[in-house]
């Protein structure tokens, strides 16, 4: 990447200054400045709740700022609606993709600006331009005529990007584009970003992965508590610890808590015997002891989440069974699993974990209602106070039990889910991507919480796409490949390289 030739002394393409935005009870943005030059990759860093999402929604025209100015190409502009932003040439690819599953790839790409003749959509033309865009993005294998619902997460990401590029775009905002991608797909993403910037398109890139920012970023703006604490830092040369220090106000990057000196022994609390689901994963044997954290490492699609959900009863196994304390669980029954002391923090927090309209308290108490009620009658004072004890034990912030859970940052929403199971007194915690979308500072905190829960006697089954996370947190690791356990070892005997080899090749590299 021609770093030196970056036209950073060109007039900026976009200037946002003094942007302020408040929501009830929260000041999300408190006078943020952002300057983006044409053709640069400008990275936006910050912890969850720092204001990144709000800032890009202002940029996309989805939120109206309370105060501040936006200048585009030297002209003051107001982005009154998402379509106003699109007309200027600002495209946003959200983390939660906004595609219509029932429509085809081509229909999604042209949604809202279909090529028409006398009101009839020119399907063939739409497919041709879509095919051209997909080819440019390095994915000619995606058929424009396929329904988006049939595509994988990575392919949907590409379609989203094709949609952004179908407009005459000058600036693309990408919100954690690599979160759902496998390593080789990330490499393709970087190639696309390079192509775009060569054409003079600016990219605002949001990611929690510092190493990515180092690879493709030009400049970095760091947000903290709704303010820009650093602007225009050189992405390649600023030391990691400086960036982390700016984000967190501390200078420790993520630290994994100490493992207990004596490995947990005793009777397994959870025992999966020959558990299998046809087409998803093959016969799995797994023992989980109190105080133990077992990690499942593998690529997207290796059957990791399916295993968790089957253990939890959310999917019915086609073979095998799950024992808790030696007693078999009723297969395919979540209430039975919960009653036996299992708890799940699902992969998709908002879609599967939270009641977004409800308060923090009600999200925490939902699995323990019987505990606060007599003959179905809820004792709300006890509910409120006990839920608060649980959220405080996990330092959930803000400490407002009546706040709607949707106003919390990702990391704190995850804590709300954990508090739910803490309150339930659960004994086996199933964690599916517990730190997805959670920033560096909050991660270390979550790791410490998870280890502490284990130290207090919980058994934890952990799934994560991030190998260092599995290796750093788990006591024992099962490596999965295409629904099969290919290796099993104590975490201290493995390293990232070896796990990646196993995951890719299915056999340990020499």
């Amino acid at each position: 990447m021609p770093q030196e030739e970056r036209p950073q002394d060109h007039p900026p393409l976009l200037t946002m200054s003094g942007i302020t935005k408040s929501f009830p009870g929260v000041r999300a943005l408190d006078g943020v400045d952002l300057e983006v030059a044409p053709g640069e990759v400008h990275c936006l860093l910050g912890q969850n709740g720092a204001g990144k999402s709000t800032l890009i929604k202002v940029l996309a025209g989805a939120h109206q700022p309370d105060d501040g100015h936006i200048t585009w190409n030297g002209e003051p502009v107001r982005l009154r609606s998402p379509s106003a932003a699109v007309r200027l040439g600002i495209a946003t690819i959200y983390q939660e993709l906004d595609l219509v599953e029932g429509l085809t790839v081509a229909e999604n790409v042209h949604l809202g600006h279909e090529p028409t003749t006398a009101g009839f959509v020119r399907t063939r033309a739409a497919r041709a331009t879509t095919a051209a865009l997909l080819k440019r993005l390095g994915h000619p294998e995606i058929d424009p005529a396929r329904r988006v619902g049939e595509l994988s997460a990575a392919q949907r990401q590409i379609v989203s990007m094709a949609r952004a590029l179908s407009h005459d775009v000058r600036l693309i905002v990408m919100d954690e584009p690599s979160a759902a991608l496998d390593p080789d797909e990330v490499a393709n993403l970087f190639r696309i970003v390079d192509d775009l910037t060569t054409d003079g398109v600016a990219v605002v890139y949001i990611s929690h992965r510092l190493e990515e920012i180092r690879r493709i970023g030009d400049r970095v703006t760091v947000l903290k508590d709704g303010r820009a604490v650093a602007r225009g830092l050189p992405a390649a040369t600023t030391p990691t610890r400086d960036v982390v220090a700016l984000m967190t106000g501390r200078d420790v990057p993520y630290v994994f808590p100490e493992r207990p000196a004596v490995p947990p022994s005793g009777a397994p609390v959870l025992h999966a015997q020959g558990l299998a689901r046809k087409g998803e994963f093959e016969a799995l044997d797994l023992e989980l002891r109190p105080g133990e954290i077992v990690g499942l490492a593998g690529l997207v699609g290796s059957g990791r989440s399916e295993i968790l959900e089957t253990v939890y009863g959310a999917r019915k196994p086609t073979a095998g069974r799950v024992l808790v304390d030696g007693r078999p669980l009723r297969p395919g029954s979540v209430p039975a699993a919960v009653a036996a002391g299992l708890g799940l923090a699902p992969e998709e927090r908002k879609a599967q974990g939270l009641l977004l309209l409800e308060s923090v308290t009600r999200n925490v108490s939902v699995s323990s209602l019987a505990r606060f009620s007599r003959a179905g009658w809820i004792d709300r004072a006890t509910e409120h106070d006990t839920a608060r004890t649980a959220t405080r034990a996990l330092s959930l912030r803000p400490d407002l039990p009546d706040a709607p859970v949707r106003t919390l940052s990702g990391g704190n929403q995850q804590k709300a889910v954990l508090a739910r199971w803490l309150l339930r007194g659960c004994r086996v915690l199933l964690l599916d991507e517990p730190t997805r979308g959670v920033d560096v500072g909050a991660r270390a905190e979550l790791y410490a919480v998870i280890r502490r829960l284990a130290d207090e006697g919980l058994a934890v089954l952990l799934v994560s796409s991030e190998v260092p996370e599995v290796l750093g947190l788990a006591d024992r690791v099962l490596v999965l490949r295409e629904g099969r356990v290919v290796h099993q070892a104590p975490a201290r005997d493995l390293d990232e390289h070896r796990v990646l080899d196993l995951v890719m090749e299915g056999s340990p590299a020499a």
Partner: protein, 331 residues
């Protein structure tokens, strides 16, 4: 790790007192509409509208559809819909007034009305919760079948009630402190519904299932059983309403409860219950019912045709929802 329940709640740390009232505050606009209507009624027909007998009539008429609306509010809050309520009321009212049923007197009529309502609700619930049918379709099928069965039972004839103890409930002699017994039943159902939705695990689960069924399932709630009970509850309300209607009309007819489904849904929606589920208010629903019943009454007193009434109802639905959308955005 387990958390122990704190021995006693520290002062001032309890749930915010406004929580239970929040829905009521949102209903202020609806109260305003009701006040305007009373004003209009009082100005256009001062003698008739404000007469005690007229107010008793309005409340009595509101009772039947009101009880249905309470059940409907639960179903809608859970993200479902029950299109069959009017047909269930019809079927329950004619089954409860057949000659064979009337032989068993008061208890026979009451029991049959409630049992038919619960039975229909059970069928709806099983189809939706365990048959995996979309509520719209399952209850649409029930609407058609229950209406058909009601017609078959009556053969289109009005079934006059001859049991004196039932008829006596509807006459002024039975009024308690000037309040008709039917209205007392409505009040009791409303109070029970409010408590059930806001103070019990059943209500909490209803809201959870409506707000995010997948999250509710993964939180350990038996979503299917909850749905079954919700349609049962709606059926139960229809059964009670059918009994009230039998008392009110002194007869059972297969045309009873015509378009109740629309009135109940409309009342719940203008009251502030989200059609998409996850949020519901019993107080709002009852206010919605009162608004509609009062309009009907004022129009009737002023000798205006029912077509004008329908237009006014439509306008109110639109206006109420627009106002709520605005207040919802501000809150």
């Amino acid at each position: 790790m387990t958390l122990t329940t704190p021995a006693k709640a520290p002062a001032g740390e309890g749930p915010r007192r406004t929580l239970g009232l929040r829905a009521d505050v949102r209903n202020l606009s609806l109260l305003g509409v009701l006040a305007v209507l009373v004003l209009v009624g009082g100005l256009t027909r001062p003698a008739e509208f404000l007469a005690t007998s007229n107010l008793q009539l309005v409340l009595t008429q509101a009772s039947v559809i009101g009880v249905v609306t309470v059940g409907m509010t639960f179903v809608i809050t859970s993200g479902g819909i029950d299109l069959s309520v009017g047909a269930i009321v019809a079927l329950a009212s004619v089954w409860a007034t057949t000659l064979a049923t009337q032989e068993f007197g008061f208890a026979g009529i009451l029991f049959t009305a409630v049992a038919v309502g619960v039975g229909c609700g059970l069928v709806n619930g099983v189809l939706v919760a365990y048959g995996g049918m979309v509520p719209f379709i399952a209850t649409l099928a029930m609407l058609a079948s229950a209406r058909g069965l009601a017609l078959q039972i009556t053969d289109g004839r009005t079934q006059i009630v001859t049991v004196p103890s039932v008829l006596d409930l509807g006459v002024p002699d039975a009024y308690v402190l000037g309040i008709p017994p039917l209205v007392l039943v409505f009040a009791a159902v409303t109070a029970a519904g409010w408590l059930l939705l806001n103070r019990t695990t059943f209500g909490r689960r209803t809201i959870a299932v409506g707000g995010n069924p997948e999250a509710a399932r993964l939180a350990g709630i038996d979503v299917r059983r909850q749905r079954l009970f919700l349609y049962l509850l709606s059926g139960l309300c229809c059964g009670i309403a059918a009994f009230l209607l039998v008392v009110l009309a002194g007869s059972g007819q297969n045309t009873n409860g015509n378009l109740y489904e629309l009135d109940a849904i409309a009342a719940a929606i203008i009251g502030g219950t989200l059609l998409s589920g996850g949020r519901g208010t019993i107080v709002g629903s009852v206010l919605g019912v009162l608004v509609f019943t009062t309009i009907t009454n004022i129009f009737a007193l002023n000798n205006l045709q029912s077509d004008v009434q329908q237009i006014a109802k439509g306008a109110i639905i639109v206006a109420a929802v627009l106002v709520q959308r605005r207040t919802a955005r501000d809150s």
